[in-house]
Assembly symmetry: C2
Homo-oligomer: 392 residues x 2
DNA sequence: GTGAAAGCGCTAACAC
DNA sequence: GTGTTAGCGCTTTCAC
């Protein structure tokens, strides 16, 4: 056994000359306790530096109010937006959240096994990760409350978008502008390095094809380029497209991150955007607004929040309806897409960063309109600075 | 009491016809258990769908192997990089991590109170948040293992950078290029909305001033503009600078995010970068490489990892040295900064995205050089696509 | 090797 | 109002 170090509730009770039940009552709400007793107990707690054990309380109470959230590639802007949305809700609902970041299949399986084999969390949120039969079966057997976000899973409450429709949306937007040769840059699983089961890029590609077909355009396999996710790879893929004898006049990228790579390639190859090349992304991450990237917006933060909310409902014993919650998509038209053949002599100014910055979203998607006023020349670090007051 | 629902170790023991101790041994390592017994117990566990309670085990064992990490503004790229770094280490050390995101002082104090008032986590990592005497005292009283990352705190193991030196580095870089009128865009606390105690922008400003002074340049208060963190505000502040009768030829932004706002403003005002305006940021987030932003690189992910490592050491009962761990800084020269007066007739191509994309970092800062090879025209979604194989 | 039993630190009935 | 006590579900001696 360990050395008895930290004071326990019994120590407090003894010192205060009361029973442990009373101390417990003081700790939780303090109802049915005489004020003088309460004060005395509180005083002893402070004096002894007593800190109740969450572990013991949770065990005794029968619930830890802890959930786990499994996210892939934490550093991706879309992932972190979803995570933030979930955390906000869970925080408000007073749940602690264990975050499991996953970059490989091994990590995924490791965390999934840990979460299902033992009772670690009251419930689990799985984000953008494909769960196979085995995984689902494990959750089912353990009767572990589970929801997914951005991932379909049979019988599991899920918050998703229609990626196929999104692909059509983006493509339709470009078709509408008059483009006929439209390229696609998206994800492919690197050889021998199977991914986490992301399927969104593939479904967006499907939408792209459907929409082209609907417009009576013959699909040109040359115009579809797939590679591992990331801006650098996307740039290379786009570069391949731009080097084609008959390059596309527009490129639809499966994510904003990849669209940024496409923009990069366009700049390098001397394809002014949108003059000579239109670009459309997907997600509407914060940088998209900054770069004036036309894109298909999906409610990222909201999706995380909804997943969390639905898990909470599940934990309350409520039925969650509908099982498959589909969030809306919409095209956001910015200046990276325009009619083809707009190429101005001299190239014209790049569209990048060209919009009214005062309408860009700042922290957490809140869009602000700004007004600044010089308040004073304040002293900062021993010297003067011009301090601007921000007025909402 | 609750209804006895989930099977317990006692159920398993009874069903298997063994004692609970044996089941426990099977669960943990399985030493000193006859193979036949082990197998039988395992079989019963599976049959009953028994899942050991982490809570009970942790309580009995005396440790939950759980740490908490407090981060501000989770969605900021620099924050998420630090978090990812910490999670990677904690994961490897087999700690579960409770993530607390904090956007306001109230949230900060709420989480800090929760973490110190009760024994929830074995240790705490505080990232980029200023802890005042009260906070520190609470940790001290509770003898709660604590480390900070990107935040100074008396007597607490901390992993930091020298922001002042970083400010000098950026400024020196611009001075070296020949700039004399250098603007600064950084953070100021919005009125009546005190922040989380970020101090880095202020210290970078200090470095900027020191370096200017060392170069014998009179500080011009007009050239220093402060406002709430974010690209939109930074764009507005930069715009104010560019509208000055005698605008700066270079701007140092206190973060890459703000530098992106500065780039945006430059584009709008028709200040080609770096022809008419040089821009230097701070952090070297992923987008910085993509945008060819010159910047002061700090090891973000590594800082989180180091914080985690040091907390683990603390939890092992080891002494952590040095208390103040300072990580290196270096200037990264990209094409957003150049000699002043390089403005080409016609504006010239924007520097943005102009670099060799194949040297951009992809996932998690790994820098890759690329080689693609067309592998095959594979079938995807019922149609052909050109699949590229990526060769390292 | 294995079972019995004593905790781990708390909550919640229950009696007074 | 308050003290007592029986668990919560596990780990870990300690005999056998």
């Amino acid at each position: 056994m360990r050395t008895p170090d930290r004071p326990t509730i019994a120590d407090v009770a003894a010192t205060a000359g009361v029973g442990t039940g009373t101390v417990s009552r003081v700790l939780n709400g303090g109802v049915n306790v005489r004020e003088s007793t309460r004060l005395k107990v509180l005083e002893v707690i402070k004096r002894l530096g007593y800190r109740p054990s969450h572990l013991a309380a949770a065990l005794s109470r029968g619930s830890a109010r802890t959930v786990a959230i499994l996210v892939p590639h934490l550093t991706r802007p879309s992932t972190v937006a979803r995570l933030a949305g979930a955390l906000a809700v869970l925080d408000e609902q007073r749940y602690d959240t264990i975050v499991c970041n996953v970059d490989t299949r091994e990590q995924r399986d490791h965390h999934l096994a840990a979460l299902t084999a033992r009772h670690r969390a009251d419930g689990v949120i799985v984000v953008s990760i494909y769960l196979d039969k085995q995984h689902l079966e494990a959750f089912h057997r353990g009767a572990i409350p589970l929801v997914t976000v951005d991932a379909v899973a049979a019988g599991v409450p899920q918050t998703i978008i229609d990626d196929m429709a999104g692909g059509r949306l983006a493509t339709a937007h470009l078709l509408e502008l008059g483009h006929r040769r439209i390229g696609f840059v998206g994800d492919a699983i690197p050889r021998g390095e199977p991914d986490l089961g992301f399927t969104s890029s593939r479904r967006r590609l499907l939408g792209y094809r459907r929409e082209l077909a609907a417009a009576g355009i013959d699909p040109d396999p040359e115009l579809v380029r797939l590679g591992p996710h990331g801006p650098a790879v996307a740039a290379e893929l786009a570069d391949q497209l731009l080097r084609l004898p008959d390059p596309p006049t527009a490129i639809f990228a499966a994510s904003d991150t990849q669209a940024m790579g496409v923009l990069s390639a366009a700049e390098r190859r001397g394809f002014p955007v949108p003059g000579k090349l239109s670009v459309v992304g997907f997600d509407d991450i914060e940088s998209a607004a900054l770069l004036n990237l036309s894109t298909v917006r999906q409610p990222l933060e909201h999706s995380g929040g909804e997943g969390a909310r639905r898990l909470c409902a599940l934990l309350h014993g409520a039925k969650v309806r509908p099982i498959r919650q589909q969030l809306p998509l919409r095209i956001v038209r910015r200046s990276s897409s325009a009619r083809p053949g707009l190429d101005l002599p001299g190239g014209g100014p790049s569209h990048l960063f060209a919009a009214d910055a005062s309408r860009m979203p700042d922290e957490r998607g809140r869009s602000r309109s700004h007004a600044f006023r010089r308040v004073s020349d304040i002293r900062l670090g021993g010297q003067n600075a011009c301090r601007m007051e921000w007025v909402a």
